[in-house]
């Protein structure tokens, strides 16, 4: 049953999405209910997996209450098919996978709800929702992958099913963005493929094992090769996580509809990239083997540069959506930076930021989307006084914004705190460089988000924006997801102990 459920949760949304193609004339309402119910069923399946896996109990209790620690969690693999005796498509459910799958599948129904309203005037909704549902399956596939090869397969699938979503608008700009997206994604995957082949040669298995699977002889005989290949593979996976120098696609891809930008380009796709790098560092190569070597330093330098680049660009960008996209680039590198500290603390911090930023940024994107959709406000200078008309939306924007800046006891504060603590524990010069970049970037974050918030609440000299009296509040379908994000970022900031103890259990295996 458990094995069935894992496969079900991955393939069911893909099939259910594909079914939509067969009914191009379906009514909007029917389709909405259909997709929503499917996402709920899938959520139920994911919850079932979490609850029945030996990891899940801890997540629910918040604290692990004695007994043998479930070391077997990562050995129980679910084989789907074998290509050769080493190359198999298989699932394996462990703590990291549960974390990511829960994050994604809890946010999915809310994003769908949001999309129903946001996409209501769109002509090609059927295609949109079909691919949107298929994306859920492939992201869960990445989360549940049991080895590097399976992850690579679902990684490619994810690139292919999200590509039509990026160019959904079908304008010239969107098509160009879509093309670029594909080039970046497939190019990155090609790098990762090279890495996978080498790992295959130097290890007996491709499975994810905490502490790495590379033979110790390979580290002794060929350290240079291993490090170079690690570097190349990391660069390949980090394309999805929008790290410098391959982060531009995220900005171009912001031509996509808001649910795509909000969910996929702040949570699912980009976090899948970060997730893959964490798998690579901690489950394939092993952080102990990599700590203190040149790839760590080079990559930390790159992430620090990306952190500053993203937030520096966000200050200058006046288009609200692109501003948030730049902010996403910056924040993704926080996650990568945490992972690159190559220590359990760093991984814990990285995963914390992965969760906190996901919840916060989806809220911010949805708020901006609500302003765009309901009132056609796209630019920073158009929103004077909007906070008094779109009360709930803008209040949520403020909460999420404050959280992202790192105001105490909101979500992202906790993760930034963890990152800084990990930096102090590491105490290396490169760690401090990254820590400094995070601090400076927090200031930039304050600048680019607070200027927006202030515009909304304190219109300069009392000049309200054009058409102030006609401004409307967004509909309930938008407000529910927005409110959920704002509440979640607050709740996670206040009650972070259960999450942290769960993450502690994951990282204690390293």
């Amino acid at each position: 049953m458990f094995e069935m459920m894992v496969s079900f949760s991955v393939f069911f949304p893909i099939l259910a999405g594909a079914v939509l193609f067969m009914f191009p004339e379906i009514k909007a309402k029917t389709r909405n209910i259909y997709t929503f119910v499917i996402s709920l069923i899938n959520l139920a399946a994911v919850l079932y997996i979490a609850a029945n896996c030996s990891w899940g109990n801890m997540f629910i209790d918040g604290a692990y209450l004695g007994g043998p620690f479930p070391n077997d969690a990562y050995t129980a693999k679910i084989k789907l098919m074998s290509f050769t005796d080493t190359l198999t498509l298989q699932f394996g459910v462990d703590g990291l996978g549960i974390l990511f799958s829960l994050l994604v599948s809890i946010l999915w129904p809310f994003s769908l709800l949001y999309a129903f309203e946001y996409m209501e005037h769109d002509k090609r909704q059927n295609t949109f929702f079909a691919f949107f549902m298929m994306t859920l399956g492939s992201v869960l596939g990445i989360a549940y992958s049991g080895d590097l090869f399976s992850m690579y397969v679902f990684y490619e699938v994810l690139s292919l099913v999200t590509f039509p979503l990026v160019m959904h608008e079908q304008t010239q700009e969107a098509q160009k963005a879509g093309r670029q997206y594909l080039v970046y994604m497939l190019g990155g995957a090609a790098f990762a493929f090279v890495g996978m082949i080498v790992v295959m040669n130097y290890s007996s298995t491709l499975d994810f094992v905490p502490g790495g699977v590379i033979n110790s002889t390979a580290w002794i005989n060929n350290p240079g090769l291993m490090l170079t290949i690690f570097f190349i593979t990391f660069m390949g996976f980090s394309v999805k996580a929008a790290m410098m120098p391959f982060g531009r696609w995220l900005i171009k891809a912001s031509v996509a509809p808001m649910p795509v930008t909000g969910l996929l380009h702040a949570v699912a796709v980009v976090k899948a990239g970060a997730f893959a790098t964490i798998r690579l560092i901690y489950y394939t190569y092993g952080c102990d083997n990599l700590r203190g070597k040149w790839p760590q330093y080079v990559l930390i330098g790159l992430t620090a540069a990306t952190i500053l680049y993203g937030s520096g660009m966000a200050i200058k960008e006046l288009h609200l959506k692109r501003r948030l996209a730049y902010s996403t680039i910056s924040n993704l590198s926080y996650v990568l930076f945490g992972a690159l500290l190559m220590s359990p603390e760093g991984m814990e911090a990285s995963l914390t930021h992965l969760v906190m930023h996901a919840v916060t940024k989806i809220g911010l994107f949805f708020c901006v989307g609500a302003m765009m959709h309901t009132n056609n406000k796209v630019w920073q200078y158009e929103i004077d006084g909007i906070g008094y008309k779109m009360k709930y939306t803008f209040a949520a924007f403020t909460i999420c914004g404050l959280s992202l800046i790192g105001v105490p006891q909101l979500g992202c504060f906790i993760s930034k705190l963890r990152l800084l603590t990990a930096v102090i524990d590491d105490s290396g010069i490169f760690a401090y460089i990254g820590g400094g970049a995070i601090l400076l970037s927090a200031l930039f974050t304050a600048i680019y988000l607070l200027t927006t918030v202030i515009k909304g609440y304190f219109p300069t000299d009392g000049h309200k924006c054009d058409g102030y009296d006609q401004l409307k509040e967004a509909g309930w379908k938008m407000l529910v997801p927005i409110g959920f994000a704002a509440v979640m970022t607050t709740v996670l900031g206040l009650c972070w102990k259960p999450l942290m103890s769960f993450l502690g259990k994951i990282t204690s295996l390293m």
């Binding site: 520096g312 105001v407 102090i424 304050a446 600048i447 304190f458 219109p459």
Partner: protein, 759 residues
């Protein structure tokens, strides 16, 4: 959850009260307007509610004070709040500052009704005021640096609404500066606190002294360095809020644009929360580190001088008061810095610094509320516009005089006491300073000179308000000039400004708003305290200073207690210092009248703004650096790496691939094919030559006897033989030749295989 629960209620009550206010006042952010049938809050009701909330907070304070000894606990801890826990304490210093905070909020709120007669957004003002109040109380009561940090951040963010209240362009800019300083300070402080917790293992203020001593006394150099880094970062955060040089930039910007009652709070209380942190650093963490004390003293010296000089040159009432705040914070910092330097003998300096805090809060309350009276009548703050305002207002005159003379350190007012104590501290250190004696000698003189400058600029303000004759027409001309200047610089908002100024101008010319008894009583309260503390100096020191000395693990021991009891505050020695200072002040004042003022044609005095506008730390360094240089640097470098580099990489790869592909798929095969063909041709030529010649040779020698001359085949070969003689070859183009070559090849292959097999 244990301890004095009232402490938590103290911190939470204003927040709860603010919601209560909102609920009770119509649950609306709009002001009620019966004429236009707009439903909303009534300003008077809102004001009364705010007063009630603040007053109840005072009662809660008394209750908490009395309840503490009953349960024999002065702390309160929630372990589980947000995972880090909240820790509060209620000892001498904290009790006094909680009372001062409440008093200041109460007085400031009292004036608010008269002050905000025509303002909008009062609900927002009062709600944020209450949140700031709660957070400030939280900072002063906190017994754990993490708790301090949380309330510190809430305070910084909530008080943004104070500065941005008017929503005018300059207010928004100043508010931006305020927020930026607060955010940077908060972040750096957070990093410092994390480092500190990493090094010391605790953030509890009652345990940290021991932990820090252990680290500083230990042999671990890296831990020591970390502790120092942590100390500097925490100092950065608190210093930014206190207005310490070079982070004082927000004070002179924010105070003039904030409403005057809020300025009083910003200057009187919020800066003190920064000083609170500095005291913690000096008294707990670095309590015996000379270098740290020296650092604070030097920073204090710069702060003191910068503030005083800026205040002397300022021609704006509230800006002068704000710069004065910077300067006074410098005095306090010197007092704090002497604590680690003097160690056991720090009694005078510490009590001086603490009393100075109390004094300064009271002075600034009085002075800013006087400024509020000026502003609500004239809607102007420039000295040239407001001069002579106070003529014929004896009550205001007395109040302002008390504040002005108090802050200048004139004997019989409370300012004198604290100033003398810190001065005593400096003198005390000169005796034991050794190599640093020279520096502290200079510091002593700078201290006296800054005191003199305080006297000078306060007298300047007093003269301006109560002695100089008003010149309505002059000021109007002046004002119009400014307007024009304003127009040329801010083209877009020019018309709006113009209208507003015109409206205010006519307003101020025609009628003045009466100031109610309520407002006057609010200003009187601190003034009375100033006088009382000054007259009862003996009691003031021996009771209040000793009481305030109970801070965390610190309290005065018996000998220190005796020193405070025995001190002769009005001795000739001490009076001499004050007299020197005041004499210097008089000289400065005369210099101001001489060089910074001019005379109009009709004999009235006007104030010149000689301070170059470009000489502004913020505009000159911080803004270009933070908004221009850094983002630009990261953007260009980033854009190069993210844009140009991948593109170049992509194009380069494509180009290389194209060339390589062309080479491999076109040039190389062609060349290879050509080469192979030519070699083959050569080989076949050679083979056929040899073959032909052999045949020819054979047929001419061995087979000659068998040759039939008339054989038809031979006949048919004749032409070919002729060809052979011409070209030297005969059978290259025949099938049999090809078959033969294949056979040769097969034989070679076979031989090779045999070789492989047997080798």
């Amino acid at each position: 959850m244990r301890g004095n629960t009232l402490l938590l209620i103290l911190v939470m009550w204003p927040v709860a009260g603010s919601f209560l206010m909102w609920l009770m006042c119509g649950r609306s952010f709009r002001r009620a307007d019966p004429e236009k049938d707009v439903k909303g809050y009534s300003p008077v009701k809102l004001w009364l509610m705010t007063l009630g909330v603040t007053g109840f907070e005072g009662m809660l304070l008394i209750a908490a004070w009395l309840y503490g000894p009953v349960i024999k606990m002065d702390t309160y801890t929630i372990g589980r709040f947000a995972g880090f826990g909240l820790k509060f304490a209620f000892d001498g210093f904290r009790i006094v500052y909680a009372f001062i905070t409440t008093l200041m909020w109460f007085c400031s709120t009292l004036v608010a009704r008269d002050y905000f007669t025509d303002g909008e957004n009062l609900m927002r003002y009062h709600i944020f005021s209450m949140w700031t109040f709660a957070a400030t109380i939280g900072v002063f009561l906190s017994n754990d640096l993490y708790t301090t940090f949380i309330f510190f951040e809430i305070m910084s963010l909530a008080s943004y609404a104070f500065v941005a209240h008017t929503e005018k362009a300059d207010a928004m800019k100043a508010a931006g500066t305020y927020l930026a300083v607060a955010v940077i300070g908060g972040l750096v402080m957070l990093m410092g606190i994390m480092l500190l917790s990493n090094v010391c293992g605790t953030l509890n203020l009652r345990e940290i002294k021991e932990a820090a001593s252990a680290v500083l006394g230990g042999n671990d150099t890296s831990a020591k360095n970390k502790l120092w880094a942590a100390g500097i970062m925490i100092l950065f955060g608190f210093g930014a809020k206190a207005g310490c040089f070079p982070l004082h930039i927000w004070l002179p910007k924010a105070h003039p644009v904030a409403p005057a009652p809020a300025s009083a709070l910003l200057s009187g209380v919020l800066t003190k929360s920064g000083v609170f942190g500095v005291i913690v650093l000096c008294l707990e963490i670095f309590h015996d580190v000379d270098a740290f004390g020296l650092l604070i003293c030097i920073l204090g010296m710069f702060t003191m001088l910068t503030g005083a000089i800026l205040a002397v040159f300022s021609v704006d009432l509230k800006r002068t008061l704000a710069c004065s705040s910077v300067s006074q914070i410098g005095f306090i910092l010197i007092g704090c810095g002497l604590v680690p330097l003097l160690k056991e003998e720090c009694t005078l300096a510490l009590s001086g610094a603490m009393l100075y805090m109390v004094n300064h809060s009271l002075f600034k309350l009085t002075l800013f509320l006087c400024a509020a009276v000026v502003y609500m009548n004239l809607h102007k703050l420039n000295l040239n516009d407001i001069k002579g305002f106070g003529i014929g207002k004896p009550y205001l005159k007395v109040l302002f005089l008390i504040g002005a003379l108090g802050i200048s350190g004139v004997p019989l007012l409370s300012g004198y006491v604290a100033k003398t104590l810190i001065h005593e501290g400096i003198v005390e250190y000169i005796h034991v300073a050794g190599g640093l004696a020279g520096f502290f000698k200079v510091l002593e003189w700078l201290y006296l000179i800054s005191g003199g400058m305080t006297f000078a600029y306060m007298t300047k303000l007093f003269y301006c308000l109560f002695v100089d004759k008003p010149s309505e027409s002059e000021s109007k001309i002046q004002h119009n000039k400014e307007n024009k200047l304003h127009d040329s610089t801010h083209g877009t908002h020019a018309d709006v400004h113009h209208d507003e100024n015109d409206a205010h101008g006519s307003n101020s010319g025609n009628h003045q708003i009466g100031i109610g008894m309520v407002s006057y009583s609010a200003i009187t309260a601190p003034a009375v305290l100033i006088v009382a503390f000054g007259l009862g100096a003996k009691l003031y020191i021996s009771k209040l200073a000793v009481f305030m000395g109970n801070f965390n693990t610190f309290s005065y021991n018996f000998e220190q207690h005796e020193i405070l009891n025995e001190i002769k505050i009005f001795s000739l020695e001490n009076l001499k210092g004050s007299m020197i200072s005041i004499s210097i002040g008089i000289v400065f004042f005369l210099l101001i009248r001489k060089f910074l003022c001019g005379k109009n044609a009709n004999g009235t005095i006007y104030y010149k703004n000689l301070w170059p506008a470009k000489l502004d730390l913020e505009e000159l360094i911080y803004r270009p650096l933070l908004l221009g240089f850094f983002p630009f640097l990261f953007r260009t470098v980033g854009a190069f790496i993210c844009n140009t580099l991948p593109k170049a990489l992509f194009r380069g790869t494509m180009f290389a691939l194209k060339k390589i592909g062309h080479f491999i798929s076109n040039v190389l095969p062609k060349a290879l094919f050509g080469a192979v063909m030519s070699i083959l041709k050569k080989l076949t030529d050679l083979a056929s030559n040899i073959f032909d010649r052999t045949i020819a040779l054979l047929s001419n020698t061995v087979f000659r006897p068998f040759r039939h001359k008339d054989h038809p085949i031979v006949e048919s070969m004749k032409s070919k033989l002729a060809l052979t003689e011409k070209t030297g070859r005969i059978i290259t183009s025949t099938l049999s030749y090809g078959m033969m070559m294949i056979c040769v090849g097969l034989i070679i292959t076979l031989l090779y295989l045999l070789y492989l097999l047997f080798s």
